[in-house]
């Protein structure tokens, strides 16, 4: 699991690559927390999920924890470019009801402004 962190137009853009499962979530969560701490003014975050090739319930739990963390700062977390298989997991677990899911990164960044 790899992840890159950048800031575009005052919105955090996190790109995830590889599987997001029980084995990877702790490292990703720690990485995200460190990055968020180093950018204290950052509120809104977009997660580019295009590179996630597999996700289980631990991965989903990590995203929900991220949403909670971002919301506590008064910001919003939006997901972009969900692969079809991951989107199916969101559908059956009803997670699509709590996340705003955009088709493109640009759309998600726009929605954060």
């Amino acid at each position: 699991m790899g992840s890159t962190f950048e800031i575009k137009n005052e919105v955090g853009l996190v790109t995830l690559i590889g599987p997001l499962t029980a084995g990877q979530v702790d490292a990703f969560r720690a990485e995200f927390n460190d990055w968020q701490k180093s950018h204290e003014t950052l509120r809104n975050v977009v997660l580019d999920c295009h590179g996630i090739d597999f996700m289980d319930s631990s991965g989903l739990g990590a995203l929900i924890a991220l949403l909670k963390r971002v919301s506590e700062r008064g910001g919003d977390l939006k997901l972009a470019r969900l692969p079809k298989k991951v989107r199916m997991v969101f559908e059956i677990t009803r997670a699509y009801k709590i996340f705003q899911i955009c088709d493109t990164v640009e759309e998600a960044l726009q929605a954060c402004r």
Binding site: T21, F54, D56, S57, K84, K85, M88, V89, E91, I92, T93, R94
Partner: protein, 480 residues
């Protein structure tokens, strides 16, 4: 007239559903083959030949001798690469009295609730798919002679609609899904479904548990031995197979749930097919295998009473062996470890009930000449001691199939519907490592023939075969 139904092969949609043969893929909770057998009975055909290929064992186990439908079923086997028509052409004289032939995965869609009309004497009905005969019924000698001779004579052939049904192709997951939804929306009433109770658009099988707090919205079909939990919301347009469990607060609408599926708590399944832990979107054919058993899972098959007896006796015997081997294992094992003469190899294996376990085993014998102590260690089966502990922990059976390695043998593990990893197997007395083919053959053989007698045979061959090896006895051959 005789019927020849070609059951082998699985198109992509059937493989995605997890079937080796299209014939056992269920439509509205019943295998496709059953609709054809029922049709044979209605057409007053009593002699049915099922031509088997992939999935032969499962088809045979399902159809048996055909007495259930009032038919006399016999079987033939065809190589998967062979043209099904060749089977007919090998012995054309068998079919000259009339032939009802099904060549492709089709569904016999009844046009009305009335039974199909009787076949005309000397009449011919033909259905073609992709320019080839997919289904035919004929008692016309000239037509049959031409067809069996290699010709494709369509002249004078009528449509099956005249008989009251139409062979309908299933070409994709989408068409399979739509067929199921059409059935649940009312067409299933045209077919005989033993055990189902239809009322107000709801068909419920035997022994279905529906708590008062579950909400059913017809049309829906629920198979036998299925359990719904409280606060579930089922329907409309839902087909649930047999032996399914739908956990609390799950919502199901416009979906097909195949036999033996567990739907986790609070899930929402819409416009999907679920086959065990496999989630399918029929609209575009996307298939996602869900790893979390609390979301979607295969309902583990109930053990047969004989399996329970095997489990109890196996565990007791394992306990006895552990008691007997404990001291010698500690002494000899420590000695071997100290001298560095031999070391056990650690590996991750698939255990019972979809769990994993770490096992210690000896490296293959071909690795070089072993010291006397090491040979004695193996001959007295002391190397099996760690595996016997796994038997006591419920991770392995005492006798069973060779435990399959995680990752390396995952493909074989998925293929095996019945998996009984054992401490003692057909491979135990052998000195060489089993290749995948041998493992597959042994595993399938054991799944089919498992019994107390077979376990006793494995036990004796494993323990005494190894002992004989110490004194120069020949290594055993594969049991199957």
């Amino acid at each position: 007239m005789k019927a020849v139904l070609q059951t082998g092969g699985a198109p992509a949609w059937a493989r995605d559903l997890g079937f080796e043969t299209w014939a056992l893929a269920p439509v509205a909770g019943r295998p496709l083959l059953e609709y054809w057998l029922e049709l044979c009975d209605l057409l007053r055909i009593t002699e049915v030949r099922l031509v088997l290929s992939d999935g032969a064992q499962a088809v045979e186990a399902f159809a048996q001798d055909g007495a259930r439908w009032g038919l006399k079923i016999t079987y033939s086997f065809l190589d998967p690469d062979e043209d099904p028509d060749l089977f007919l052409k090998r012995s054309p004289e068998l079919w000259t009295g009339g032939l009802f032939y099904l060549r492709a995965p089709l569904f016999p869609r009844r046009l009305a609730a009335e039974p199909p009309a009787k076949l005309d004497v000397n009449g011919t009905h033909l259905h073609r798919e992709g320019g080839r005969t997919a289904c035919l019924a004929s008692s016309a000698p000239d037509f049959l002679k031409s067809f069996l001779g290699g010709g494709e004579l369509a002249l004078g052939a009528h449509d099956f609609a005249e008989l009251g049904f139409l062979p309908e192709p299933i070409t994709s997951l989408q068409s399979y899904f739509e067929l199921n939804l059409r059935m649940v929306r009312g067409e299933c009433a045209r077919y005989v479904s033993p055990g189902y109770f239809y009322k107000d658009g709801a068909g419920i099988g035997f022994n279905v548990i529906i708590p008062p707090a579950a909400r059913l919205q017809p049309p829906l079909l629920i198979g036998n031995n299925t359990r719904l939990s409280a606060l579930t919301n089922i329907g409309p347009d839902v087909v649930i197979g047999s032996r399914c469990i739908v956990d609390q607060q799950a919502e199901l609408a416009r979906c097909v749930i195949l036999d033996g599926t567990y739907i986790g708590r609070n899930l929402e399944i819409r416009d999907k097919i679920v086959a065990g832990r496999r989630l399918i979107d029929p609209a575009d054919g996307t298939v996602a295998d869900i790893e979390d058993p609390w979301l979607l899972a295969n309902v583990t098959a109930t053990l047969r009473p004989a399996d329970l007896l095997r489990a109890v006796l196996g565990w007791s015997l394992a306990l006895l062996l552990v008691v007997l081997q404990c001291l010698p294992f500690l002494l000899l094992g420590s000695l071997l470890k100290l001298t560095g003469a031999w070391q056990l190899v650690r590996g991750d294996f698939h255990a019972t009930r979809q769990r994993r376990t770490t096992l210690l085993s000896l490296p293959p014998a071909g690795a070089g000449r072993r010291p006397v102590l090491a040979r004695l260690f193996r001959a007295t089966s002391l190397d099996l001691f760690p595996m016997l502990l796994r038997v006591l922990a419920g991770r392995l059976w005492l006798c069973g199939q060779e435990p399959l390695r995680v990752d390396a043998d995952d493909a074989l593990r998925r293929e095996l519907k019945e998996y009984f990893p054992g401490a003692l197997t057909y491979a135990t007395p052998r000195t060489e490592v089993s290749d995948t083919l041998i493992m597959r053959v042994d595993a399938l053989y054991y799944a089919h023939h498992r019994s107390l007698a077979e376990d006793t045979r494995i036990l004796l061959r494993a323990l005494f075969g190894r002992l004989a090896g110490l004194f120069g006895g020949a290594a055993e051959e594969p049991a199957s």
